[in-house]
Symmetry: C2
Subunit: 126 residues, 2 copies
């Protein structure tokens, strides 16, 4: 299992796509190291490696918007993971949208087309 | 448009998730540099930067399995793109599966669960 994931290729990190397990909407992309992988397996909640904070990150630790992992897939190169999750709290994006991919290319601009799920100022108190 | 994409963060490359525009199945993940972005905009077909070959890669150039871009999204950090495409030829994976994420975590193994779309030996002649 873990042995097959090629963490070395990305200097200890693999990109992880997170997708809603029902709608299949792509919610976000984050990164896992071995520790984050193991914590995710043990708890059933998505953990990542925060590149900005340089440490383990339980998604939802502040907001309560945890991601309950339903299924996990690996790609043909063994260097990318796909999680199908139940997104608690309605949204994955720290800006309050359901998905981090809430802006679409119109040709001239990136237009906001995503669905707002919560008010960030009410969720992030720090 | 292009100016807003943060290519610098990943040393000139951004990860790109490719999703079937109808079923929303995640097909693959690849990388774009500025040139690949521009070629994709001009042609409407997904172009990437091949890290192994170190050059521009028109997806489907050998197989004929081009990806016709329907919509493009950018994430909240401006460092990841999402393409919704029409996958020609039935499959995105060079191993003949519809999606590169054709193996699922069973707890003990990565089980093959993906749908086979073509025979690689008939598609890749080189």
């Amino acid at each position: 299992m873990k042995e097959e994931i090629d963490f070395a290729k990305g200097n200890g990190l693999v990109p992880v796509i997170v997708q809603d397990y029902r709608s299949r909407e792509v919610l976000m992309v984050a990164y896992m190291n071995e520790e984050a992988w193991e914590k995710t397996q043990v708890t059933g909640k998505a953990h990542f490696y925060s590149r900005s904070r340089r440490g383990l990150w339980l998604k939802g630790e502040e907001s309560g918007h945890f991601q309950v992992v339903k299924d996990t897939f690996i790609d043909c190169d063994n260097d990318t993971l796909l999680l199908q999750v139940e997104q608690l709290g309605g949204g994955a994006c720290h800006m309050g949208y359901k998905s981090c991919f809430f802006r679409k290319n119109s040709g001239e601009h990136w237009d906001i087309v995503g669905e707002k799920a919560f008010k960030p100022e009410e969720v992030y108190k720090k």
